[in-house]
Subunit: 257 residues, 2 copies
DNA sequence: GGGTATTATTAGACTAATCTAAAAATAAAG
DNA sequence: CTTTATTTTTAGATTAGTCTAATAATACCC
């Protein structure tokens, strides 16, 4: 059949932000309820109700009153496109302009709506088609494919050896702190103990001056990969990364034929 | 006296565009009338009337009904800041991302409103503090100083030898044409004759395959510097540029004390 | 200097995105 | 299964930026 390259209707940057948030919530396996979306965007609930109705009419998401929203293929496609832009921009700011990983998010947040596709493809090439951003987040490819991320939340991990896969928190203060104690993507660490009753985690980062006591809440934004348990000093650095996720479409059936 | 570093109140990108246009018109020694501003921005005259009143109230320009607008120091400061951003961005797109000089304008037009001051200072350093953009336009420095441009419009020039200083037209088609016939900033050329009755100019660019016949209207956007008349083949390339403009404040009395 | 042409302004309206406060639906708890 | 608490939606308003059509001011020309 004819492959209609459906031109991507242009949407406002506000709409892009809504789609991005719904995608983020869906990725966390949560229901994209009015209030949850509102919290992420820091707007009033009523505003979200209106917008969701509008986005439904535009065919970008399903919306059931009093229930919530779910992206359509078209909406997801757009959301993933923004996600790709955001992460590529972060990588560019970090690698080319020397931004710290705690600085990249805010700038990318504005640029993702302003740069052209040409800009994106140029920085993609300049960076040699990076697979991850400075926080360890996977960068969707140009067609919208996203590698499945097979990582584990530190908050759920058992004591043992791990390497940091990604940090899903963009608060500059928090990231600066992690940096200070030596917790960055690719850092190896040993989780030594988890205190009971929502207590902190005792960690030993490889860059390892001393043990770090990290609050449980903070540990929820750190994702790790288990390391084959070998003597940490002689363990070979897993070049690509020991176990990779399989490659799959972004979302059920999204993307073009 | 105490140096109040007056924090630059933030304005919308729309306002930035208005200020930029008024600056551009003033730079052309014209009156910033409602209709002229409207034409530059491609909006209705009525829209401009409203906006000028608003900008006057914000202290960014003077506005006399039925006459026009003139930037205040504060307004000019903001406008020059955007101009600097625009031109630095163009240079960056050209030098780092490999954009053609006919492609840079459109992208910079969006980015100038979106990038942070950090971004600007980083690309400024990366480019080694360039003095001009890809069209030969002077880039104001970080304090808002602008070199006086002592160039001559080709439309007003007498036959003789010149080098191209700048091209003040951002139409991609037009720039692509100039490029094709070998007319770019720094290109040396000889203006051979000017046909009477608004006729075309006969030019011989140094990169010089053959003579170029350029319409008078087109010649208005090309600015040149006269060359000391020596045999063109042996003339030494003026390194910095033979005669430089003096350095002065951007606009009468603008800038901080 | 009065009539015509041009240029500006006013008036009224629209859209996108937002808000607050009130009303309605759903969920939770006895 | 009724009452209460929570969540969501509706209603009504606001702001920024824009438009068109009508009116008013200025400029130009014999």
């Amino acid at each position: 059949m004819a492959v209609e390259s459906q031109k991507q209707s242009t949407v406002s940057s506000t709409v892009e932000d809504y789609l991005k948030v719904v995608l983020k919530i869906e990725d966390m396996k949560q229901r994209a309820s009015t209030s949850r979306v509102a919290r992420h965007l820091d707007v009033a609930d009523a505003t979200v109700t209106d917008m969701l109705r509008k986005l439904k009419k535009a065919g970008l998401l399903e919306y059931k009153p009093y229930y919530g929203a779910a992206l359509t293929r078209k909406g997801r496609q757009m959301a993933v496109r923004i996600l790709r832009r955001h992460r590529l921009l972060e990588m560019f700011l970090h690698q080319v302009l020397g931004y710290g990983w705690e600085q990249v998010h805010q700038e990318a947040e504005r640029l993702e709506h302003a740069v052209s596709d040409l800009f994106i493809s140029r920085i993609d090439a300049l960076l040699d088609f990076p697979a991850q951003d400075p926080h360890g987040e996977i960068i969707p490819d140009a067609r919208g494919f996203r590698q499945v991320e097979d990582d584990l939340c530190l908050a759920e991990a058992e004591p043992g050896s791990y390497s940091v896969r990604k940090v899903t928190n963009s608060d500059p203060e928090f990231l600066a702190y992690l940096d200070k104690v030596g917790l960055r993507p690719a850092t190896r660490l040993s989780l030594q103990e988890k205190s009971p009753f929502q207590g902190p985690l005792k960690l030993l980062p490889e860059s390892g001056r001393e043990a770090v006591y990290l609050g449980l809440e903070a540990s929820r934004s750190i994702f790790v990969l288990p390391l084959k348990d070998r003597p940490p000093a002689s363990a070979p650095l897993p070049k690509g990364r020991a176990s990779r996720g399989t490659v799959g479409r972004s979302g059920r059936g999204a993307g073009e034929e």
